[in-house]
């Protein structure tokens, strides 16, 4: 397993060019092209802001400006959810590669996660624009934690993506199940509502079992509230994510030989 993990480093170039291809191919043929990477999150944000500042008015003074607050949680969530959805079908749609070319299968879910990470980074530019527009700038002292949060999310997402992609080869139901699980997960995570809402605090122990709760809180604290008090939980999640990643990689490695036969 560790030997295989080592060869993964050798495939850097391949991963790199596949991510680039993914990004290039995605908007090929559309009029706006790569601009969609910016327009997409912007539109998503407008919809949510409209709903939660106009239709269902949110009067919590601490979450103002609401658009910026929500964007801080929504961006990483979009990265997470899209990565999982894409990687769950990555092996099946890349079946040709696995069956006909000597190709390290784990590259496929990894590419799904990384190409969505690029979109996430582009989304950050929009977020920065909003912050400047609303004159709500992050606190540099808290902001230094931001890369750590991203790193934890990356490892966590990679672990889940590997496991899901390998399992969905054998259980195609996962792809359908996943869409619904993600919807539930989204609402069960303080993204559109703040984590210090009374209802959240009442069921705090339950919320704390949700790994993405810690990520969302960390993002909001580092980017929006300017005070990072979630470091311990985040680092614990980071450690667990590494374990998850290794376990997922082990599972992937175990099932690897069946891919070329079952896909």
């Amino acid at each position: 397993m560790f030997a295989n993990l080592g060869t993964l480093l050798r495939y850097r170039g391949l991963i790199q060019s596949l991510v680039a291809r993914e990004l290039k191919a995605r908007y090929r043929g559309s009029v706006l092209g790569f601009v969609w990477s910016f327009v997409n999150p912007l539109l998503l944000l407008s919809v949510y802001s409209f709903v939660f500042t106009t239709v269902m008015r949110n009067d919590n003074a601490q979450t103002r400006p609401y658009a910026v607050f929500m964007f801080c949680g929504l961006l990483p969530w979009t990265w997470f959810a899209a990565s999982l959805t894409e990687s769950a079908s990555s092996l099946i749609s890349g079946g040709n590669l696995i069956k006909k070319v000597l190709f390290p299968a784990e590259v496929l879910p990894i590419v799904s996660v990384l190409s969505n990470m690029v979109h996430f980074v582009l989304g950050l530019i929009i977020l920065a624009g909003f912050m400047i527009g609303f004159r709500h700038l992050p606190n540099p002292a808290a902001l230094v934690w931001f890369p750590v949060v991203v790193a934890v999310q990356l490892i966590f997402t990679l672990g889940l993506a590997l496991a899901l992609s390998a399992l969905s080869v054998h259980f195609r139901d996962i792809r359908d199940l996943l869409a619904n699980v993600l919807t539930l997960w989204f609402f069960a995570t303080p993204i559109i509502y703040p984590y210090f809402m009374p209802t959240v605090e009442r069921f705090l122990w339950l919320f704390r079992l949700n790994p993405f709760y810690h990520l969302a809180v960390s993002y909001q604290e580092t980017l929006f509230f300017g005070q990072f008090g979630h470091a311990r939980s985040l680092l614990l999640l980071g450690a667990l994510s590494i374990v998850l990643f290794l376990a997922a990689y082990w599972l992937f490695d175990r099932l690897r030989d069946s891919f070329a036969e079952v896909v």
Binding site: R21, R28, K99, K100, V101, L102, F103, H170, E261
Partner: protein, 425 residues
């Protein structure tokens, strides 16, 4: 001589998960059978204890029927699947032409695909850059290289895929029946490329049904059948043995077809034209024909003959009562239903006198000068006016084989002569 590819006692068992077809993750979890369900419940042995070596620098052809395990063997050598038992050892960089352009993305340009495909096949970005011009020239796609691959014709797609794979400059090249695609001139180019690789001391393993190609290109051939190695060695000898075995199984198939045809022969009289091709058997059976056999030069009944062989049609006739008005006839039809030859005793001016009881009839042909193909046989006994006693219409199938693929129906014994200034290689 060192070996480039070495298979030692390799078996490959494909697991089939048939019982789990409708199982879902949920039910698997509920029944706590997730791990059990991931285990196979049926096994299909694709390769059984196969060993062979391909010496470095040689070209070896893997031949065999469909489903004999050739492609499985190639995938094992390529490392795409792992053997269930035994070891596969390959020395040097492999490039596998199993499916051309397998990694192409339709939306992006040929240029970008060349790079990504090259990297997938194990080149670095710089190496692709160095070879880029050669690849594009080989594929003859200079003016289209910046168009998205989805706009390519399938031929262009294949050419580009082949060009990339062959320019990986592998030490070991694996080829799976890919030469069947592409036009004549591109096929020649590919063959030239194989020749060049051969001269440069590269190892090539080819899976193909084109036996002529194996004979021409390969130093060695390996014949697989039913997942087991049957023979290995000189291509001519291996191909010969393979063809004999194919004939043998064809005989069995034709025998089965014939038996079925006789059993299900409907007693109907053809409407109109006697030469219209409809299977069947009809007649009063006052003279009954049974045990129709085609017999080769060795006196053994067979269903497969070679063009030019001596063949006899033999059958048994039983007259219920002494009969004086009778004609025996045979005719041969090709697969298109065209009557190739037909005759009877009446046409050949043999006036019937009497037949009673059991009789044996033989129609001997000294040379079966038909071109390669499948033929059907009519055997009949009838009155001189045509009223049938027992008419077997196209119930018997036989095959004629030929090394030369000449066309038409009739292949007369022939020879060419030329004046001395005409020469052939």
């Amino acid at each position: 001589m060192t070996s480039a590819i070495e298979l030692v006692n390799v078996s490959k068992i494909y697991r089939r998960y048939s019982g789990r077809q409708f199982a879902t993750l949920k039910s698997a979890l509920l029944k706590r059978s997730l791990l059990r369900e991931l285990r196979p419940n049926e096994a299909f042995v694709a390769l059984k204890d196969v060993s062979f070596t391909v010496p470095k620098g040689s070209t070896v052809g893997l031949i065999g029927r469909n489903g004999s395990g050739k492609s499985t063997a190639l995938k094992l050598v390529a490392g795409i699947t792992k053997p269930s038992a035994g070891t596969v050892k390959v020395t040097g960089r492999i490039s596998a032409l199993i499916e051309l352009g397998a990694g192409f993305h339709p939306e992006i340009s040929g240029r970008e695909n060349v790079f990504i495909n090259g990297i997938m096949l194990g080149l670095s970005k710089r190496e692709v850059e160095e070879r880029f011009d050669d690849i594009v020239n080989f594929a003859e796609l200079r003016e289209f290289i910046d168009a998205p691959v989805k706009t390519y014709s399938s031929g262009m797609y294949m050419r580009l895929g082949f060009a990339v794979a062959i320019h990986v400059d592998p030490d070991v090249l694996l080829v799976d029946e890919v030469l069947a695609v592409g036009d004549e001139s591109f096929t020649h180019k590919c063959l030239d490329k194989f020749g060049e690789l051969h001269r440069r001391g590269k190892t090539v393993l080819i899976v193909t049904h084109a036996l002529g190609l194996v004979e021409r290109l390969c130093d060695d051939a390996v014949w697989l059948d039913g997942g087991e190695k049957q023979l290995e060695g000189d291509p001519k000898r291996v191909i010969g043995a393979y063809l004999t075995s194919v004939e043998e199984s064809e005989k069995q198939q034709l025998a089965a077809t014939t038996t079925k045809a006789i059993q299900s022969a409907a007693p109907h009289v053809p409407a109109g034209d006697m030469f219209q091709a409809t299977e069947g058997r009809w007649g009063s059976r006052e003279i009954e024909i049974t045990d129709v056999q085609l017999v080769g030069a060795d006196g053994q009944p067979s269903f497969v003959f070679h063009s030019g062989d001596a063949v006899s049609i033999r059958f048994h006739a039983r007259a219920l009562k002494t009969t004086t008005d009778f004609v025996f006839g045979v005719s041969v039809f090709n697969a298109d239903g065209v009557c190739c030859f037909g005759t009877n005793t009446d046409i050949e001016s043999m006036a019937s006198e009497r037949i009673d009881g059991d009789a044996q009839v033989t129609f001997a042909v000294d040379r079966l000068d038909l071109v390669e193909g499948t033929y059907k046989l009519d055997v009949a006994a009838h009155r001189r006016d045509g009223t049938p006693y027992d008419y077997h219409r196209q119930l018997y199938t036989f095959r004629v084989k030929s090394r030369t693929h000449d066309v038409g129906i009739f292949r007369p014994a022939h020879r060419w002569t030329f004046s001395p200034n005409v020469r052939f290689k």
